[in-house]
Amino acid sequence: MAQRDITRERYTDGKPNLRRYHQAKWDEPVIFELSVPGQRGILVPEVEPDLRAEVGDVLADIPSGMRRQAPPALPELSQVAVVRHYMRLSQENLGADLNVDIGQGTCTMKHNPKVNDQLAASPKLSDLHPSQDDATVQGILEIMYRFEQILKEISGLDRFSLQPGAGSAAIYANVSIIRAYHKARGEADQRDEIITTIFSHPSNAACAKTAGYKVITLYPDADGYPDFEALEAAVSERTAAILITNPEDTGIFNPRIADFVDLVHEAGGLCSYDQANANGILGITRAREANFDLCHFNLHKTFSTPHACGGPAVGATGVRNELAKYLPVPVVERDGDHFHLDYDRPDSVGKVGSFHGVPANVVRAYAWAMSMGADGLREVAEIAVLNNNYLLAKMLEIPGLSAPYAEGKRRIEQVRYSWEKLAEETGVHSEELGIRAADFGLHYWTSHHPFVVPEPCTLEPTESYSKADLDEYVAVLAHVVDEARNDPDKVKTAPHNCTVHTIEHAPFDDPGQWAVTWRAYRRKVGGEEQEGT
């Protein structure tokens, strides 16, 4: 048989050609369109005839005003049809398992180990009711307890609650604890200001605001570091706390973080460390060394639990001993070999979420931490940071890109880039590059609104991606940037290889046209007359 160069058609100059990607496109109808009257997807257990006979017509008990007039107009489908519909929709979704998911910067998209998912799905967990007797839930309580010990060592703080439903909920819990602390000291009314920085996660400001605080935002100094003089101008006897992310969303570590903490402490405020970006500093630096009073971790970021399209999730909130009495109830206490839930905590802020948060994610995170150990966690941090700085070097080779602030410096685990020069030159904007990147099976995220860095793009490679993965991502962006220069329409009319094409946005902002449900769509756009609302 004739020999041939097997790399010839897939490689150029030793490098792999760009992927000829196309996302699944099933052109799937909205489920209501698939409805066939009479079809059933599942049958529910029937009431035994003798039980029914004994009870009689239970519906007769319900006053007529409380009795539903007609069954809900849900679609009627066979189980086959339901499975096929949602399988198809799943294929039209780009999970992290499928792509080099470094483009959702700040989200810490890392590998979600499958063994952890299997452990979390065990009936030994999924069939537990949250109000069971402590004696019947010793396994999960022990896992929660053990994981708390791990978080204590990683942060250096003294107690944790695993109840908050994600990062923002954890920040809110921290703000509640801060309020309780000042209230106990008779200073709750006086201390009505919370300080944060513009490159901290926006939820810090949003949560403080929701909790009724005035929010003071610090802008960075000319080098992009949080501005200490600005903090000096901000602190006063009204300061309740500072909520600060470090490293910030720019990937810059604030070297004066301990000075920030000292200054706020001198003014009588508390300091809360948003560890959403902790992935690059595990085992390197902790909340304790910088003297923080509170902190939080997102288990779906640093601790590898799946993002699940946006939750369920856990935001683990940690405090020093002095603040432990304010933590949400219950907390897990150990009593020899026995574990129990302690609800009897009179100073507690109460409930911040249902029951015990999302224990399945605690199991996953615990399993992940146990599979890494102290050395492994440090390896996570170091490789995440190595990956990021490698990516930074490769990205900056693309003309039209810059990494504003701290020019020439290393970054921790992510970078907020700017395509300002490219946009000036070509009129192609960062969001448009991102949508074109989707044509190659990649996510790409600008940053939170409003954009402080012009034409932003935030990449966070984590430890989960190989050098070849990073090279592929850069190669795709370089290609898209090249298109922006030479064939901008190709970029501006993207996506071309995704499930759907350019979506009309006007209806989303027009109360006369927007439709959050199919019934609203049928009524507003289809002109259908409907009963009720």
Partner: protein
């Protein structure tokens, strides 16, 4: 300090020493230490963190974690009558199949282009909830029913510019605690009592307390203690007469039979979708829904994401996106309007699958079946000497409380006895609802057979004899 053991970690592709070296060379760094030049020495962790030795092989890890989980004794292995916000319902296999698809499980916040599937499923979720609730606007799920209730009250305060909410005293204690914490410091939460015989809201007290300062009247239906609030229309009328917003928390599974709250006057309806296909998982399956009519003023107050449908440039193709992206509160003093973040989207996807499987008939069947079983259990338990079902005359859905005062035993004692018989008795209400004496909240669902209920009755009979 022990040396770091050279390990190539399966989850860390670049932990191969040669690759690491090559990458360091390419960025001109001698070691990863250079990347941390901004971290002062004083802030460094000294030495190695004191953590348990790692379980490097998957086998060892599995053995360890499964060993811990094995210490649990589950509701599936026993006979459970626990409810109180988290419910043991049958989870269709298809629900687990879809929500464990890694395309959904490992995705996050992609665009409506690369994550079209997520947008469509969550739009369908909202659409099916909309049919169940008879409302046009339903959010992408928030954390849980507690959050949904607390946020609904804040929405009502923004809508009315007022800062007081009247809430039924017979809410679950967790919900009340959450509402209180979340509405601090500006919103006053004023409980309204309930009638001892019906379990319904005390309308006289409501009438006496409601004022032009009242933003919202909130009640659960069915109530936490299980009875159906039959005066919903009257409560809504009173709220509306004072230009307050009527907020109702409803178990979606009850709506196969019960009137959607909007039809008796609710303006905001909220609750938890855990019953719609989520395992109890020690409380980890909760997710909150909030629904309103399609009025701009209401839509603008949602802190959650709302996914809408729109055309694309290809005729007939459906696209999705965020409705009212720049949502502007009508209350200028609250421009922050809470927050949106990672919450419980996967459970929205799961609930979509559940509702699609159930269809109209399934929802009617399950509602009716649960109600029938619960009625049977109430009747049977009431026959046990010393055991009373105080609200037996009132209509109930799946929960009801049982009083043991006349047995001379506490709920705790009875539950310990039941536990020995492998039964999880109803949740103890004696602390949070002291006025009910030694009472327990029992929950009966479609998973229970007549034999299960009869077994419970026998077991309690033994305990109180």
């Amino acid at each position: 300090m022990s040396e770091r053991k050279p390990v190539v970690y399966p989850y860390i592709p670049n932990s191969v020493p040669e690759v690491k070296e090559q990458m360091l060379r390419e960025v001109g760094a001698s070691s990863t230490e250079e990347f941390y030049e901004d971290v002062p020495e004083a802030l460094r962790v000294k030495g190695r963190m004191n953590l348990p030795e790692p379980l490097l092989s998957e086998r060892a890890l599995r053995r360890h974690v499964e060993g811990l989980l094995a210490k649990n004794s589950t509701a599936g292995e026993n006979l459970s009558f626990l409810g109180g916000g988290c419910y043991q319902h049958h989870v269709p296999a298809v629900c687990d199949e879809i929500n464990s698809r890694s395309e959904f499980l490992t995705a996050y916040a992609g665009e409506p282009y690369d994550d079209h599937g997520r947008f469509q499923v969550l739009f369908e979720y909202a659409s099916m909830m909309g049919e169940l609730l008879n409302m046009d606007v339903v959010n992408v799920p928030t954390y849980d029913g507690l959050q949904a209730a607390a946020t609904s009250i804040r929405m009502a305060c923004r809508l009315t510019g007022r800062q007081q909410a009247l809430v039924a005293r017979n809410l679950g204690w967790e919900k009340l605690s959450k509402i209180r914490d979340y509405c601090k410091p500006d919103i006053e939460i004023r409980p309204i009592g309930y009638e001892a015989d019906s379990g319904g809201l005390d309308l006289d007290e409501l009438d006496a307390v409601i004022s032009p300062h009242t933003a919202a009247v909130y009640f659960d239906n069915p109530t936490y203690l299980g009875s159906i609030e039959v005066n919903g229309a009257r409560i809504a009328e009173i709220a509306h007469a004072h230009d307050a917003v009527c907020v109702v928390g409803a178990d979606p599974l009850s709506l196969g039979i019960l009137t959607p709250p909007v039809e008796y006057g609710a303006d905001i309806v909220c609750g938890d979708i855990q019953p719609l296909g989520m395992h109890t998982q020690f409380g980890g399956g909760q997710a909150g829904y909030i629904a309103t009519r399609d009025e701009e003023a209401y839509v603008m107050e949602f802190p959650s994401r709302l996914f809408g449908i729109a055309p694309t440039k290809v005729p007939g193709e459906y696209g999705f996106g965020d409705v009212a992206y720049e949502r502007t509160s009508f209350a200028v003093r609250e421009e922050g309007k809470e927050w949106v973040g990672t919450a419980a989207a996967l459970w929205g996807i799961t609930a979509a699958v559940y509702l699609a499987l159930m269809g109209p008939q399934g929802m009617v069947d399950i509602s009716e079946g649960i109600m029938t079983r619960a009625r049977y259990a109430m009747a049977r338990l009431g026959e046990i000497p010393g055991v009373r079902v105080p609200l037996a005359a009132a209509p109930h859905f799946k929960e009801f409380f049982v009083n043991f005062d006349d047995t001379g035993k506490s709920v705790a004692e009875i539950n310990q006895g039941l536990l020995r018989q492998q039964i999880f008795g109803g949740a103890d209400l004696s602390k949070q609802f002291a006025e009910l004496g030694q009472s327990a909240l029992y929950c009966v669902t479609e998973v229970h057979t007549k034999a299960d209920i009869d077994h419970l009755v026998d077991a309690i009979g033994k305990e109180v004899a």
